[in-house]
Structures are given as structure tokens and as C-alpha cells.
């Protein structure tokens, strides 16, 4: 699957669509089970993205700053 390359947003969006599809009720059993499994996989992706994300503050290497007067 290409799911590893999904962004959090895409995975969450996909998950939402699956839930909506299931809630519409117009789904066969085999499809419902497939959707559920796919949904759970998407949930895991989202969860992992959230849990593994680490905050970081970087400075842009190239200082866009000319000689400035010191106060």
C-alpha cells in the first residue's frame, strides 16, 4: 500500500470518508469489513504520526540580515 506516504491530513480525511460511508449503511458485509480494516490501518497511521512527531525550532541558516545598528 502507498499509505506510508499519506500525510496525517490525507489519512484522517480518508478515515472520515470511510466512517461516513459506513454510516450511510449502504454497504455490503464484505465491503464493511474491508472498510473497517482499512479504517483501523488509517487510524494507526494517524496515531503514530501524532505520537512520533517531535517539535523542533530551527533558524533559517542564511541570515537575511545586513549589518544592523546595535542599540
Amino acid at each position: 500500500m502507498t499509505e506510508e506516504r499519506l500525510t496525517f491530513e490525507q489519512a484522517e480525511d480518508e478515515l472520515r470518508k470511510i466512517v461516513e460511508r459506513l454510516e450511510s449503511g449502504d454497504v455490503g458485509i464484505d465491503e464493511a469489513i474491508a472498510l473497517w480494516e482499512h479504517g483501523e490501518a488509517l487510524y494507526v497511521i494517524c496515531r503514530e504520526r501524532l505520537d512520533s512527531a517531535e517539535g523542533k525550532v530551527e533558524e533559517l541558516a542564511e541570515r537575511v540580515q545586513a549589518a544592523k545598528p546595535s542599540a
Binding site: I18, V19, I33, G39, V57, E58, Q65
Partner: protein, 396 residues
């Protein structure tokens, strides 16, 4: 007055002269000092002019410039302590028109007159305002501030760009607000000068620089509050155009609520405080997690609901099947009984009641006399009961 020394009392200091006959003679230093003391008593005034030959160096204690009239050659040397100059934070450049508050002073060493500066103000705020309004109309006419241009912000940016002044407060506030709301946030910060004649170009360049970095999905342009002049770079046409041309959405968090620099109008969203900016560019981390859990619960509920509905339908079908089976059986039994009735109606017994009899020998129903032999025993069946008989005579 006895002796050879004269003294002029100039109020502040004494200037001594030497007497040669009837002539009073001053040394150059005494002359300069006298002049300086006298000049010092002149009033402090405002002088309007254009700055030229601005000389400011870190190792100098004093900043020098020449103040000259715009429409004549008249000029005067001006000076002020470097600390005071820097504290004004005007970031002045040659050619700028200013009002200088100061008084005349003579430098005793050289006898040169100069304007000792106490304060400087950029001149022509009204002119600035009018120019700003003209620029605003022009850019608005180009559609740069149009609502259709506004882009929506990403819900979860991979990286948040931050372009901010080296005035630490705005930077610190935005970083603190963003990371408090969304701890895993990845920020890319570019510091620039945010004041003075070069600020606009630098900020614009910083904006482009940050936008060019991979993963930057939104940029916050932040600057704390300041005077009208302080915020002028944020109304500079170059910066406004850079904001419009920025490939990712820009959130402008410049100045205070009441300030509306033009970059605010050009930005995709305007935030009144760093906290508000944070709320716009990153989601609430805890809320996001909860929403995800809710969605998962909905996923399970949804799929269970589908399965439950299917199971119910199956049960209903099975019940109908069972009911249908019973019904079918009954129908068959009735039909069978009808057939049996008809069968009975057609049986020979009905014939017997009309007086016929059935004769049976050991080899079955007797249909012709020739099948019998004399002395053979036969059974005769009547409509009611029967009897056995012996064959006395056969008549084929």
C-alpha cells in the same frame, strides 16, 4: 584693577586675558572657550533639514551628520552621542528629512560651530499617511487585497515558517504560543531587521527564503507593537507584493489590534496577537488526539451497525424461510387429501355398492371363467363383507 590679568565673567566660566599695554589679548583656547560659553546660552530649537554624510561607527562615542536645507546649500554640522542616536531607533539614512531638536555648540578644541542634537524626528508624517493611502488604493485596485485571493490555511502544517524581527518579544511569543498549542510543531524562524529603510526589502527576502524551504506550509509574519513609523516597512509595496506572491499562505501578526499595515490586508489571514496566530496555524494537539479517537469509535460503531443490520436481515429471511416451509407442507397435505378423496371416489368399492362383486382366486382378480377350474376355492368380495366359495362348474 591691579595685576596683568583680566577676567570676563561670562556666567559659566572665567575667560582670562593677558594685558599687553592697553591691549587685552586672549589665547585661542580662551577665545574658543569664551565663544563656547556664550553660544551655549542660545535657546534650544527645532531645525528642519535633510540628513547627509551620516557617520556612525561602533567605536565612536558620537554620531555625526550634516544637516542641510533641501532647497539651498546651507548646512550645519550636527552631532549627538551614539547611545542617544541608537535609542531613537530611527534607522536614519542619508537623504531623509528630519526635525532636529538641539542647540548651537562650539567645539572648544577647534572653534567649530555645530548643532548639538538632543532628539530627531522623521519629518512629514502627514506626507507618509497620504502616500500610504495612495499606495493602498493602488494595490486594492490591482485586487491584491481581494477576498478571492485569500487562501485557506493548512489544518496541520508540516513546518511553520516564522519571519520576525530581532526584537525578541514577538518571536518568543509566537514560538511559545505555537509549541504550547501543538508541541510537535516544527518551526523555521528567520530573523530580519524590521525597522528602518532597509527593513521592507529584508523582510520580503526572508519571506521568500522561508517559503522556499521544504515542508513549510504556512508562514507567520510577526512584529510587536510600535509607532506608526516603526510599522511603516510592513506597508511597503515590496513587502505587500512579496506577501501576495508567497507560494504558501501568510498569517500577518503585525502590531496591535488598531494597526492595519498594508501587509495585513495582503495576508491570507490577519491575527491580532501571537496567540491568535498560533491558533490559526496549528491545531490543538489534545483536541486533535481526541477527535482521532472519536473517529475511530465512529468507525467501529459504523461497521458494527452495518454488520448488525445485515444480521437482522438474515434472521428475518431465515424466519420467512421457516414459515414458508411450513405453509408449503400444509398446502401439500391438503392437496394430498383432496387427491385421496378423489381416488376413493374412483375406487371399485363404489361399483360394489351397486351390486357388483369381486372374485379373487389364488392368482388374483378373476376376469374370465376360463381362468378357473372346477373345485377351486375363490373369495368373493361384496360392498359389505365377503364370502368364500367352491367352483362347481366352469362355463367359459
Amino acid at each position: 584693577v591691579p595685576g596683568t590679568t583680566w577676567t570676563y565673567d561670562l556666567g559659566v566660566a572665567k575667560v582670562e586675558a593677558i594685558e599687553h599695554g592697553d591691549r587685552k589679548v586672549f589665547s585661542v583656547a580662551a577665545f574658543n572657550r569664551g565663544l563656547a560659553d556664550w553660544v551655549r546660552r542660545l535657546p534650544t530649537v527645532w531645525v528642519e533639514g535633510e540628513i547627509s554624510e551620516l557617520r556612525r561607527q561602533e567605536r565612536w562615542q558620537t554620531v555625526f551628520f550634516t544637516l542641510k536645507d533641501v532647497d539651498s546649500d546651507a548646512c550645519v554640522e550636527a552631532a549627538l552621542p551614539r547611545r542617544r542616536f541608537d535609542a531613537l531607533r530611527l534607522d536614519l539614512a542619508n537623504g531623509e528629512r528630519v526635525h532636529v531638536y538641539g542647540r548651537a555648540e562650539v567645539w572648544p578644541q577647534k572653534g567649530e560651530l555645530r548643532l548639538q542634537v538632543l532628539s530627531i524626528e522623521r519629518f512629514g508624517l502627514g506626507a507618509h499617511l497620504a502616500a500610504l493611502e495612495r499606495l493602498k488604493q493602488k494595490l486594492a485596485a490591482e485586487g491584491l487585497f481581494a477576498a478571492e485571493r485569500k487562501r485557506s490555511l493548512p489544518r496541520l502544517p508540516r513546518r511553520v515558517g516564522l519571519v520576525t524581527g530581532n526584537d525578541a518579544a514577538a518571536k518568543r511569543d509566537v514560538i511559545a504560543s505555537v509549541t504550547a498549542r501543538f508541541p510537535p510543531a516544527r518551526l523555521l524562524v528567520a530573523e530580519t531587521r524590521v525597522q528602518g529603510p532597509h527593513a521592507a526589502a529584508e523582510i520580503a527576502r526572508a519571506l521568500q527564503g522561508v517559503a522556499a524551504q521544504p515542508g513549510v506550509d504556512v508562514i507567520v509574519l510577526a512584529r510587536g507593537g510600535g509607532s506608526f513609523e516603526d510599522l511603516l516597512p510592513f506597508s511597503d509595496e515590496r513587502l505587500v507584493r512579496a506577501v501576495v506572491a508567497c507560494p504558501v499562505p501568510v498569517v500577518s501578526a503585525v502590531g496591535h489590534e488598531q494597526d492595519t499595515p498594508l501587509c495585513d490586508l495582503a495576508a491570507d489571514v490577519r491575527a491580532s496577537t501571537p496567540t491568535a496566530a498560533a491558533r490559526l496555524v496549528v491545531p490543538d494537539f489534545a483536541e486533535l488526539g481526541e477527535a482521532l479517537e472519536r473517529r475511530r469509535a465512529a468507525l467501529r460503531r459504523g461497521s458494527r451497525a452495518v454488520l448488525d443490520r445485515r444480521r437482522e436481515r438474515l434472521e428475518r429471511d431465515a424466519e420467512r424461510l421457516r414459515r414458508g416451509g411450513r405453509l408449503l407442507l400444509e398446502r401439500r397435505r391438503t392437496a394430498l387429501e383432496q387427491s385421496a378423496g378423489r381416488l376413493r371416489a374412483l375406487s371399485p368399492r363404489a361399483t360394489l355398492t351397486r351390486g357388483y362383486a369381486i372374485v379373487r382366486s389364488d392368482s388374483g382378480v378373476v376376469r374370465e371363467a376360463a381362468a378357473l377350474s372346477t373345485g377351486e376355492r375363490v373369495n368373493v368380495e361384496l360392498a359389505k363383507g365377503g364370502f368364500a366359495a367352491n367352483v362347481d362348474e366352469v362355463r367359459p
